[in-house]
C-alpha cells in the first residue's frame, strides 16, 4: 500500500493494465507526448510509444469513433476526452453508436472501450469547461458510468472499466487530482455498480458521488458535533447504481439527502429519489431531498461559482431541514 494522489492512482491503473494487456491503447488530444493536459498519462508515452499512446487531431467524434471501431475489432481502447463538456461534441458517437452497437449487432459484439474524461466546477473554467453531465450519459442504455471519489476507487474502477466488455465512461473530478490516499501496488478491481458506505450513521442517509462525497463527509463531521449521525454513501458508479445499498440505508435511517454537483432538474438525484420512494416508501419520514447546483450554466467568477457549487454548509443545512421535518 503506497500513498498516491487521485491522478497518480489513475495513471498507475492505466500503466499496469497496459503492461498486462497489449490490446490496450490510449487515444486522444495531447495524451501522448504531453502525457495529458492534466498529467493523467504522464510517462506512458516514453514507456509505450506512439502506437499505444496516440496523439490525435482535435476531432472528438473521430476519436470516439476510432475507439469504437478498434474495439469492435478486438482491441481495448482508452478514449480520452479532455473535458466532460466535450462529451457533447461527440454525443452521437457515444450515444447513438458506442452505446447501441452491441444491441444492433444482435448482442454478438463486445465493445470494450473506456472513455475517460474530466468533469466538475470550481476552477473558474466557466460554462463550457466545468459541467457535470453524467445524467445524460446515464440515460443512455448500453453505457456504464463511474465517478470515483478516492485514489483507491480511481484505480480499482479504472481497472474494472478496462476489463469490462461494454463501453464505460470514467469521470475524474478536476478539483481532486491532488487528493491523496492509500492505493495497493497490485492490480485490483472495484466492481462497477457497487456503492460504498463511507460512514455509517443512524439518523439520515447522504447519497453522493465524486467530489460531493468529501463535502458530504465534512457536513457529517459538523453535524456529528450536534449529535446527528449521518450515514454517507458513495455511489461510485452512477450507471448502474447500487439501488440495494441505498434502499437498505433508507429503510434504516428513514431520511435521505442526495447530493450532486450537476444541476438539480433531471439530474441523478431525481432518479435516486424516485427509486428510493418506489422501494422504501413506507420507511420514509421525509421526502428525499436534493442538494445540487442551481439551474444555470456554470459561472466564471469565483464570487458566483462558490454559490453555484454545493458545499458542506449547504449540505448540512439541508440535512437539518430534512431532520427537522416531523
Amino acid at each position: 500500500m503506497a500513498e498516491l494522489t487521485y491522478l497518480k492512482a489513475f495513471n498507475q491503473g492505466v500503466r499496469q493494465m497496459m503492461d498486462a494487456d497489449s490490446d490496450i491503447f490510449v487515444v486522444g488530444e495531447d495524451v501522448g507526448r504531453k502525457g495529458g493536459v492534466f498529467g493523467s498519462f504522464a510517462g506512458l508515452f516514453d514507456e509505450f510509444g506512439e502506437l499505444r499512446m496516440v496523439d490525435t487531431p482535435i476531432s472528438e467524434q473521430a476519436i470516439v469513433g476510432l475507439g469504437i471501431g478498434a474495439a469492435v475489432c478486438g482491441l481495448r481502447p482508452v478514449v480520452d476526452l479532455m473535458f466532460m463538456d466535450f462529451v457533447l461534441v461527440a454525443m452521437d458517437q457515444l450515444a447513438n453508436q458506442a452505446a447501441k452497437l452491441k444491441y444492433l449487432f444482435g448482442g454478438s459484439a463486445r465493445l470494450p472501450v473506456t472513455i475517460t474524461t474530466n468533469g466538475g466546477a470550481g476552477l473558474s473554467a466557466a460554462a463550457q469547461h466545468s459541467q457535470s453531465l453524467e445524467a445524460m450519459l446515464c440515460h443512455v442504455p448500453g453505457l456504464k458510468v463511474v465517478m470515483p471519489s478516492t485514489p483507491y476507487d480511481m484505480k480499482g474502477l479504472m481497472v474494472s472499466c478496462l476489463r469490462d466488455d461494454n463501453p464505460t465512461v470514467l469521470v475524474k473530478h478536476k478539483r481532486m487530482y491532488g487528493v491523496k490516499g492509500d492505493v495497493p501496488a497490485e492490480l485490483y478491481e472495484v466492481p462497477i455498480g457497487e456503492a460504498h458506505v463511507v460512514r455509517p450513521g443512524a439518523d439520515v442517509t447522504v447519497v453522493a458521488y465524486s467530489r460531493m462525497v468529501s463535502e458530504s463527509l465534512a457536513a457529517a463531521d459538523q453535524l456529528a458535533a450536534e449529535g446527528i449521525g449521518c450515514e454517507v454513501i458513495d455511489l461510485r458508479s452512477v450507471q448502474p447504481i447500487d439501488t440495494e445499498t441505498v434502499v437498505a440505508s433508507a429503510r434504516k435511517t428513514n431520511r435521505i439527502v442526495v447530493v450532486h454537483e450537476a444541476v438539480r432538474f433531471a439530474g441523478l438525484g431525481a432518479e435516486i429519489a424516485a427509486q428510493v420512494s418506489e422501494h422504501a416508501f413506507d420507511y420514509l419520514d421525509a421526502p428525499v431531498a436534493r442538494v445540487a447546483a442551481p439551474f444555470t450554466p456554470v459561472p466564471f467568477s469565483p464570487a458566483l461559482e462558490s454559490r453555484y457549487v454545493p458545499d458542506a454548509p449547504r449540505i448540512a443545512a439541508q440535512i437539518r431541514t430534512t431532520l427537522d421535518r416531523g
Binding site: A62, G65, G69, L75, P77, F105, A109, R110, D165
Partner: protein, 331 residues
Amino acid sequence: MTGPSHEVLRDIHRRMVRIRLFEEAAGRISEAGRMPGFIHLYVGQEAVAAGVCTALRDDDQVSSTHRGHGHLVAKGGDLSRMMAELMGKATGYCGGKGGSMHVCDLDLNMLGANGIVGGGVPIAVGAGFANKYRANGAVSVAFFGDGATNIGAFHEAANMAAALQLPVLFVCENNEYGEYTPRYLTMAIDDVVERAPAYGMPGTMVDGMDPVAVFEATTAAAARARAGGGPSFMECKTYRFYNHHGVQTLGMKYRSDDELNQWRAKDPIPRHEDLMVGAGAMTPDGIEAVRAEIAAEVEAAIDFAEQSPLPDPDDLLDGVYSGPADQRQPL
C-alpha cells in the same frame, strides 16, 4: 493493361446479381406491406459494392450506411439472415433488433449499416487503426454517400486517417442526391473527389457504373494502404434507380424521368454481362444459369424469413450489455 481475370469478372457479376435480386425482392415485399419500417434500396449502385468488395480480402473490414444491404451482400452476406432481419424475425442478423438500417455480420467483417449519416465512417477508421496496430496487412473501407461528405464526422474521420496514416479506403458513392436535395444545392464543388486533397489523401474518380473500373481502383488503393501508403479517397459516380426509400421510380418531383432513364441505360449489370461475354468469361447461358441460381437463393431466403419466428418479447433486453445485464429493469 490486362484487365482482371475471368474468375474475377464472374465473381463481380455474381455479387452484383445477388444484390440486385435481393433488393428487388425486398422492394416487392416492402411494397406489399409485409416488411416493417422503411428500406433504402441499393439498386443501381451495385457496381460500387461489388467492385470494391471483390478487391478486398476476407479480413478487410467495411463500414456502411443507411443504404447498406448491397455492402453486406457484396461482403458475402447470407441472404436468408438478411431477409429475416428486414422482416424483423428472430433468425435475422440482428435477431430482429436492428432491421434494414443496421444489418451487419462481424464474422464477415461487415461492421454494420448505420442510421446516422456519416456515423459509420469513424468506425471504419477505428478498424483501420486496429489493422495498423496489429500490422496484419488488412485494410478497412468506409462506404458513404455524397451527402455524407458534408457532415462533420466524415471530415474528422478522413483527416484522422490521414494524420495517423491508417490503411483506410474512403469510398464515396456519389448518386448526386441526399434524400430529395440535389448535390449542387449542398456543395459548391463539381466533384466530391475535390475533397481528398484537403486531407492530403490521393483521390480518384471512378465510373461507379463500371464494376471493373471500381475493382481496379480499389485494388490499387488497397495495395498502397497495405504497403503503409496510408488512406485514399475514391469517388464513384453512380445513381440510385429507386426513390430515397421505398420503390417509387418514375414521376418524382425532385429528379426527372429523363435523368433516371439516362442512368438506367448505364445499368452496370447488363453492361458487365456484355463485357464478360465479349471477353469469353461467360456465355449467355452461363449468365442465365447464375441468375436462375441466385433467384432460387433469394426465393429460399424469402421462405426462410417468412417461416422464421418473430423474436420473443422476453428477449427485449438481451444484448444491451455484454455479461450480466445488470441494468435490467422490470417492464
